[in-house]
Symmetry: C2
Amino acid sequence: MTSSEAFPQGAPDTVEAFQERLIAVSDGLPKRLRQCADYIAGNIDRIAVSTVAELAQGAGVPPSALMRFCQILGFSGFSEMQRLFRDSYVPGRPDYATRLRNLRDKGAGSSAALLAEFVEAGRQSLEGLARSTDEKVLDEAVNHLAKAGMIHLAGFRRAFPVASYLAYALEKMNVPTMLHDGTGKLDHSHALRPGDALMAITFAPYSPETVALAEHASRRGLAVVALTDTPISPVAQLSAAVLTVPEVDFGAFRSLSATLALAITLAVAVGARRSRNGT
Amino acid sequence: MTSSEAFPQGAPDTVEAFQERLIAVSDGLPKRLRQCADYIAGNIDRIAVSTVAELAQGAGVPPSALMRFCQILGFSGFSEMQRLFRDSYVPGRPDYATRLRNLRDKGAGSSAALLAEFVEAGRQSLEGLARSTDEKVLDEAVNHLAKAGMIHLAGFRRAFPVASYLAYALEKMNVPTMLHDGTGKLDHSHALRPGDALMAITFAPYSPETVALAEHASRRGLAVVALTDTPISPVAQLSAAVLTVPEVDFGAFRSLSATLALAITLAVAVGARRSRNGT
DNA sequence: CGGGTTTTGGAATTTTTATTCCATACAGAA
DNA sequence: TTCTGTATGGAATAAAAATTCCAAAACCCG
């Protein structure tokens, strides 16, 4: 037998374990079994709702090959493998998907249809954020902000809600914070003091005030954390940590969901870090 | 036969059609068949991954009763019904699910894990919003705001980012708007003039300023649109239209995703309505 | 209460699906 | 090339699932 002894332990009992085993097993596999591995890897979500014959056809192998493959993975057979996926199958979706369709069907331009579009844009943005965020950069950003004497927040126009939300959250956690909101058109750049950090939030078209403040901070040696849309944004090269947010837009308006999720994450992480270090 | 002739047409071929038929059929059903209807209605998402025996057991009926039920719905049998759900099962972004698990696994308290939680909270909120929003109320809200001479926005603390986002969006669409942001602790309640409308955004604990402004507006006969968390919020009874947002919270912080999605929907719908009416 | 109708449960049957097995093809080593 | 062990496809079998059918129970109406 090819490798039944390589995994004397029982069958994987979670989807993660399954994926690990799939990876562990998949090199050094003969042609047909490799086809199985490839197809299964790319269609994990169909296992719960398919038959052996269907999957085998998809993979371009006879059913018996797929059976062998299940056994190599550690299952007694296909049924046992399928049970894993049927049990852990959480839909969450069908409801939502149906409702979304209903809303959209109300006719373009109706407020219900608009809602559907914005909800969906927000959801996609969030998913994109989860997929694309680099944990290292996130940690660095938290480090810079947690070390700061005071956190300055800059964000205008579309970024202003984000900045004000951060101000609210940080304040609730007793983190010294200053929101540069431009009230009275005062120039508060002298408020940036050594040891402080600046969080610069801006999206195309980048607001000059934010960029200017970032430049000022950077020149004075303050840590700048950027929350922006692309790595080539004008604040990016001035920054110690650059967080980019993939917002999906609908029409002329871009969702803020992902940006806010990232913002609140930063705020809470910073708050937690600081209180651990005894403020 | 019970009612095979009541639906001489073929089987439902979409999930919506299925649900309609379920409703249409479900009164005037004998005991066991009604149990089937109830159980199926509450477990639509499990049809794709269950056997007749499993579903029958869940519903507390013998398999044959469930078979009969499938036929009453218009299918030739269970298999045909199941096919509908298996086919329309859209892969629930396996990517996202995996990535989310990875992030969460980074250890509670790590910033990556926090991000995962906030993203998920936001996603759930958005889905909840799509599910629960009443289109009628949404339309009413849009009507009130579109008719207004000027739209006043009230929202403090956590609601402030929402209010400021609305101000930004409405302004971009040339809708006369006033953001009551409390700068300088000035009382701007005299700015509310006949024919204006107030959008009051507040969540527990409801900020007194917002409630006071809503009372003031209501007393003077202005249309008040509430964006709040429950129908029993203090601004609800003062309002001509009450939009409630189901935000999921994580820890002490509540997501704003759903609230913002609803806000931008309102803004765009109002903007569109007004420009159509030749503002 | 009695006769007809509807509903019900479960056993029997059919169909589908999973699984095994083996003859054959293939690949690599000598 | 021949030998040896692995890989493969498909036919045969076993298991599970779906579906039908019918006798018994419940119900309803007079």
